[in-house]
């Protein structure tokens, strides 16, 4: 009886685990387009927003010099624009 259960479990696992290897190449679950990095832009955008907010607070509380503030702000805004660009369409 136990042997039957074991055999069933083993078979089910094997079938399920090996299934993707036999699937034909299709749109769902197959497609790295050659060379493209499907990095998720949302996380990057959130991180940049967070950094910008932090920078503003640091600047307002006097922990960043004027020069550094301008430099960093320009850098972050560039990153934000880039993250916005890499998602489909432009941010509304």
């Amino acid at each position: 009886m136990t042997g039957v259960v074991m055999a069933l479990l083993a078979a089910a696992a094997a079938v399920w685990v090996l299934a993707p290897l036999r699937a034909a190449a299709g749109p769902a679950g197959s497609g790295f387009r050659a060379g493209e990095q499907p990095e998720w832009p949302r996380a990057a955008r959130v991180a940049v927003d967070d950094a910008l907010r932090d920078l503003e607070l640091d600047h307002a509380t006097g922990k960043v010099s004027e020069d550094d503030y301008r430099l960093l702000r320009a850098r972050y805004e560039g990153q934000a624009a880039e993250a916005g660009r890499s998602s489909r369409g432009s941010p509304v």
Partner: protein, 671 residues
């Protein structure tokens, strides 16, 4: 029958883990060679599915073990060792992790849980790292499953079950010790995921920041669990072991402390990396080190090699753990070395007096403490290897080295957040530190005037005042800025400030928790008083500002235990504070006994009484302690929890970026 199924489940899980490791490795390499882009996702998907199936089988094995424990099936050797008729059902359940085999199974199970969550998250955000993460998690799972199938199997059975089990050590029959191991494991195991992310990032050699920014959130969670685990352990030690302390620099305590220290260092250095793109090589190394210490810590608590009175080679378990540790560290640090130049940061330190340098110093000191703890912990083995004679170092060694380092960290905790980036000018120093510095000095003078003479304690409290001042200043400044912009009321401004800058202010709240902890440790270490007396019924003893009267012995029996209670009454300055009981529980089945301390906690101090012994004539020998500020330690833990919880709430999604999945993006498909 069930045991066979359990053994099979673990064996099948091992096979799946090996398959996942191979498939992920293959899938990853196919990508590197640009070969057959269609093969990659199929192999990696298959590997991910193997991990899911492995998790299901581990859950099945765990379920079988729990079932056997709850049903008190004494054909299982593990059940016999940890369960007894008459043991409370709750502890039958916690017996799952109170023994070596069960705890390794718990480790593997928790790892699977984390792995599945990580795979889902990374497939969505950074699919390029997926083969590496799957591979590393599969590799670690392989080790633990190998241990569970070949070295310490949980499903050893005997054909003729004994009539009753041995039961758990009574010292473990306590709620704090029930939750302490799983909490600690959530921390230990949690360090595997950031490790996997970092290794995956190093393998793919991407131009990203070594994976540490992605790993940060996982590290924070693991750090939080380790913090809680350490606090529960300290609480258990204080309340159950009855020696009056909460930390003994025991090897198993140190085993959890070391990864905690390194994780804390990481949480600070990653901030520098995020804001200034600095210290990348260092931060990546910290993640690898933290994982190594978590494996080392598991090894220490499992093999008992250092607390054992016998020699090193007592069980083969240690050898396997050390082998795995060596292999993984050599491989991971080798990867770091390989990618060393690629990890080099764009920026370097600008000034010796800047936030960056304060954070760097903070990291160095944390690592120094971790190194010290490590050195003291392995001293017996090290000294034997070097000098031929085995030597021990005890709490005096740790206290001597760690205390000054702790004071430096306390100072940095106040100074760091207030220093400007890149370089501090004298004007900024004056603005930032004048008020908190004044608070510290005034506090010091006040304490000295009140009669406190211990210089270390005065310094510690004064610094705590200083740090508290800096935190308050940061909050006040932030509120002022918000009100200047939005014109809100102070309370709303404060709430909005904290919510908008969760990591920063959550971190400050954590610092406040650490402050409370520091004060509690200082108070109870420096100003504790003790009396050891034998009293006749009716006699009283003075300890600290309390007077404790012994009213006599009571005896009762409760489920196989003889309970001897010393009835006491506490007074302070004439005021009756109520009854206090100090108990000894004598277990009639063996020679074990435990202590229930008499404890009266206030914000100011703890009155702590242990019943040590008694005579036939009814005299009682009592050990009485007055430990100041111990409650501050537990309060500090709660505040730390609140701060960590705030910092861990994920950032809001920005409304503007469209959330639809870009067409053609890779997804695990069918997971």
């Amino acid at each position: 029958m069930l045991a066979d199924l359990g053994r099979f489940s673990l064996l099948a899980a091992l096979v799946l883990a090996l398959y996942a490791l191979a498939a992920a490795a293959l899938g990853g390499r196919a990508r590197a060679y640009g070969v057959s882009q269609n093969v990659l996702p199929k192999l990696v998907t298959s590997a991910a599915r193997a991990l899911v199936a492995m998790a299901a089988l581990e859950a099945l094995a765990a379920g079988i073990l729990i079932f056997a424990l709850v049903r008190r099936d004494y054909t299982f050797a593990y059940v016999v060792a940890h369960v007894r008729d008459g043991q409370a059902l709750g502890y039958d359940l916690t017996a799952f992790w109170s023994g070596m085999e069960g705890s390794l199974l718990l480790w593997a199970l928790i790892l699977s849980g984390y792995t599945l969550a990580a795979v889902r998250s990374i497939a969505r955000t950074r699919p390029r790292l997926l083969p590496g993460v799957v591979g590393v998690c599969a590799g670690v799972a392989t080790f633990f499953l190998f241990m569970l199938t070949a070295v310490t199997p949980p499903f050893v059975t005997a054909p003729f079950p004994p009539p009753d089990g041995q039961g758990m050590n009574p010292l473990l029959l306590n709620p704090w010790m029930a939750i302490h191991p799983p909490t600690l494991y959530l921390g230990f195991v949690g360090l595997t995921i950031p490790f996997a992310i970092v290794v995956a990032s190093l393998l793919t050699g991407g131009a990203d920041e070594g994976g540490v920014l992605l790993a940060r959130r996982w590290m924070l969670w693991a750090w939080y669990c380790l913090s809680m685990g350490l606090m529960f352990g300290a609480k258990w030690s204080y309340v159950v072991l009855g020696w009056g302390g909460y930390w003994a620099w025991d090897p198993v305590e140190n085993a959890a402390l070391m990864p905690w220290l390194v994780s804390t260092a990481f949480l600070h250095s990653v901030l520098i990396q995020e804001r200034r793109a600095m210290l990348q090589q260092w931060t990546v190394s910290l993640v690898v080190l933290a994982f190594g210490l978590s494996i080392f810590g598991t090894f220490l608590t499992r093999s008992g090699v250092l607390s054992s009175v016998h020699s090193f080679t007592q069980s083969p378990l240690g050898g396997y753990f050390l082998g795995f540790l060596a292999l993984s560290m050599v491989a991971a640090f080798g990867l770091v070395a390989w990618r060393w130049e690629g990890l080099r940061s764009e920026h370097t330190l600008d000034s010796a007096l800047s936030r960056e340098s304060a954070f760097l110093l903070n990291n160095v000191v944390f690592l120094a403490v971790a190194f010290t703890v490590f050195l003291g912990t392995v001293f017996p083995v090290l000294s034997e290897a070097v000098t031929g004679r085995r030597m021990n170092v005890g709490p005096p060694f740790f206290d001597h080295v760690v205390t000054p380092l702790g004071v430096v960290l306390l100072l940095l905790m106040g100074v760091g957040p207030l220093l400007p980036w890149r370089r501090a000018s004298t004007a900024s120093l004056r603005n930032n530190f004048l008020a908190p510095g004044a608070v510290g000095i005034i506090l010091a003078l006040g304490l000295l005037a009140a009669g406190m003479r211990a210089p270390g304690a005065v310094l510690a409290f004064a610094l705590s005042g200083f740090v508290a001042g800096t935190v308050v200043l940061e909050f006040a400044r932030g509120v002022r800025v918000r009100r200047a912009h939005g014109g809100e009321g102070p309370v709303r401004a404060l709430a909005a400030l904290v919510l908008q800058h969760r990591r920063r202010y959550g971190g400050y709240i954590v610092h406040l928790g650490i402050l409370l902890l520091f004060c509690g440790v200082t108070g109870s270490s420096v100003f504790s008083t003790q009396r050891l007396v034998t009293l006749r019924p009716g006699e009283a003893v003075e300890v600290g500002e309390y007077r404790v009267r012994y009213d006599g012995l009571r005896q009762s029996t409760r489920s196989g235990t003889l309970v001897v209670t010393a009835a006491l009454r506490a007074f302070s300055g004439g005021r009756d504070l109520g009854p206090l009981d100090a108990r000894r529980n004598l277990f009639l089945t063996g020679q074990d006994s435990t202590t229930d301390i008499g404890l009266r906690s206030t914000l100011r101090d703890d009155l702590y009484v242990t019943l040590v012994g008694w005579t036939a004539g009814g005299d009682a020998t009592l050990r009485l302690l007055v430990n100041p500020l111990v409650v501050w330690i537990w309060a500090g833990g709660l505040v730390l929890t609140a701060g960590a919880a705030i910092a861990m709430v994920p950032e809001r999604r920005p409304a503007r970026v469209r959330e639809a999945v870009p067409a053609g993006a890779w997804s695990p498909g069918g997971l």
